[in-house]
């Protein structure tokens, strides 16, 4: 990262830290969800933007994380903190099991299959599988997180919790971006056969992308459950997956600032125009089209070629 980057991230974080003091609680809650959705979108971007797989079922992993925490807490009485590892591991396992048989599918075929998974997932939640998902209603009244005697029950504390998770996610994605696995995802995305032929195990890295993104989405799910003390199937249906999918494309695939902007545009901006009720979605549709025409590669497209300086110096 160069100094300009560090500076702009510094300003961004500073704004997020002081923001709640300038907002009413309504908006703190919106911004908390923004932070959570940013994490989910960044994780979606690993699969969609970086590895180039058209996953339109990402809400599954988000939902699995959220439901794991809610079920373990409400049905089995686990403290929230203890549910976190499960809420990360379960989505990873699910993502690998689901992705393994379909990972070779070409773009759009993968897209429908993942939509299919998502629909099966929400249907299963609604049918109250194993009698633990709470049916169409979901699960209400999940306890707050307690760490070392501190209880995350106020809106403000959950905001900072979400902020912390976003920071963590950004670190992970930065590390991914600048490492061998991260590059491998870009290679296999741009030309899978060429990647294979220079020795990249494309199957492994595709599953890797799914696993990593499911882990982050699952973690975001935990915070989501904490924010609302509730989970319900509709928060993880395929329309939500469409939202995350769109966020990445509108913002700019593989671009961290792009995805953050995308989340802001697709989630926070509509909240600003609430008073226009349903008409806002119409305007919003127009805006989506115009943005794509204006910036076909997203609002803030990715730039490749960030290579060490010693390569270009003689």
């Amino acid at each position: 990262m160069n100094t300009k980057n560090i500076l702009s991230y510094g300003v961004f974080f500073a704004i997020l830290i002081i923001l709640p003091f300038f907002l009413n609680s309504d908006w703190v809650s919106v911004m908390t969800t923004f932070l959570i959705y940013s994490v989910v979108s960044l994780s979606q971007d690993i699969v969609l933007g970086r590895a180039g797989m058209f996953d339109m079922g990402h809400a599954i992993f988000f939902g699995l994380g959220a439901y794991s925490t809610a079920i373990l807490n409400m049905v089995y009485g686990w403290p929230i903190l203890a549910t976190v590892p499960i809420a990360i591991i379960l989505p990873i396992i699910a993502s690998i099991l689901l992705a393994a048989p379909i990972i070779h599918l070409r773009g759009d075929y993968l897209l429908v299959t993942t939509i299919g998974f998502n629909i099966v997932f929400t249907q299963a939640l609604k049918n109250n599988v194993f009698g633990i998902t709470g049916g169409p209603n979901g699960i209400f009244g999940v306890e707050p997180l307690k760490i070392l005697g501190f209880t995350f029950s106020s809106q403000l504390s959950i905001y900072y919790l979400a902020f912390f998770i976003l920071l963590l996610t950004l670190v992970v994605i930065h590390n991914l971006e600048t490492s061998k696995p991260g590059r491998a995802l870009h290679y296999l995305n741009l030309d899978s056969l060429a990647s294979e032929c220079i020795g990249i195990n494309t199957r492994f890295y595709r599953l890797y992308a799914f696993g990593l993104s499911a882990a982050l989405a699952g973690l975001a799910g935990v915070v989501f459950t904490l924010q609302f003390s509730a989970v319900s199937p509709d928060a993880f249906n395929f329309i939500q997956s469409v939202l995350f999918f769109t966020i990445v494309l509108v913002g700019g695939p593989s671009s961290i600032p792009g995805v953050l902007l995308g989340t802001f545009f697709m989630f926070v901006v509509p909240e600003m125009f609430r008073q226009f009720a349903e008409a806002r979605y119409l305007v919003f549709g127009v805006a989506m089209i115009l943005i794509m025409i204006w910036r076909p590669k997203g609002i803030w497209p990715v730039k490749f070629g960030r290579i060490p300086n010693y390569l270009t110096k003689e």
Binding site: N175, P181, L193, E196, C197, I198, F304, G305, P308
Partner: protein, 256 residues
């Protein structure tokens, strides 16, 4: 023992026998040429060797190991890398990143380095980028390091592709029509480059339609037609082989 051995390899598409019981044997350190009319099955042979296609019959032995039907990345990791008849670069990425892709297997980073960076990561990362620099210097690409590969002219793209292949440090480098689309001057440069690579100890297997180049650098040639080998031998022998002239070279016209 030969470095690479094809033993009765057969590849069939639908009803079409694209490669028909082909056996060839390539010694370490040589530049081996495969020529033949269009559609003779040359690229298909390459695809079988590199694992892109799985042959219906026959065995492919590399350094004494049977590699038939292995997936392409495993074969690449054993030391066989190729270029493509139609260039396949990571167009949107920079020249340096393209070559870095060749370092994938040699880099010893593990999966968790994509999540967490350790001191080893920094060491490994630097080592590999410096390797990339070596290859860029070798092909005269250093000044283009940050440029987008896809916007480079054809000749440069061929070089990038070759640098990428070489960055995997292969024992066997397979080139599919490396001179296609190059003019005569660029072709002479290519000959030098290929010889340089051979001198680094890399065995080279190539397909080429340009006879000047083929006759100039290969040490041994197999000629394919309809998937079958119709002749093999040293370049001079091939040049005068009436079967090859008939099927492939065409009758020589009196040239100035």
């Amino acid at each position: 023992m030969a470095l690479l051995e094809l033993d009765n390899v057969t590849k069939i598409f639908g009803g079409l026998v694209a490669v028909d019981s082909l056996s060839i044997s390539i010694e370490k350190g040589m530049i081996y040429g495969i020529i033949g009319p269009n559609g003779a099955g040359k690229t298909t042979v390459f695809n079988c060797i590199t694992g892109v296609y799985k042959p219906e019959k026959g065995k492919i032995i590399f350094k004494g190991k049977d590699i038939t039907g292995l997936s392409p990345h495993r074969i690449a990791n054993m030391g066989i890398t190729r270029t493509f008849q139609t260039i396949r670069l990571f167009n949107e990425m920079s020249v340096a990143e393209n070559i870095m892709s060749g370092r994938h297997f040699k880099s010893r980073q593990k999966w968790w380095h994509g999540i967490m960076h350790t001191p080893f990561y920094y060491k490994d990362e630097k080592e590999n980028w410096l390797k990339v620099k070596e290859y860029m210097d070798l092909f005269g690409l250093t000044h283009l390091a940050k440029m987008t590969a896809g916007s480079q002219p054809y000749g440069i793209q061929r070089k990038i592709e070759m640098a990428r292949a070489l960055a995997t440090e292969p024992e066997l480098l397979i080139l599919d029509e490396p001179a296609a689309g190059l003019n005569d001057k660029e072709r002479l440069e290519l000959v030098d480059t290929i010889k340089k690579i051979r001198d680094m100890g890399v065995t080279i297997l190539l397909i080429e339609h340009n006879m000047d180049l083929v006759m100039n650098i290969t040490e041994y040639i197999s000629v394919l037609n309809f998937g079958k080998k119709i002749a093999e031998g040293k370049p001079e022998e091939i040049q005068n082989n009436p079967v090859v002239i008939e099927a492939y070279l065409g009758k020589e016209e009196e040239d100035e």
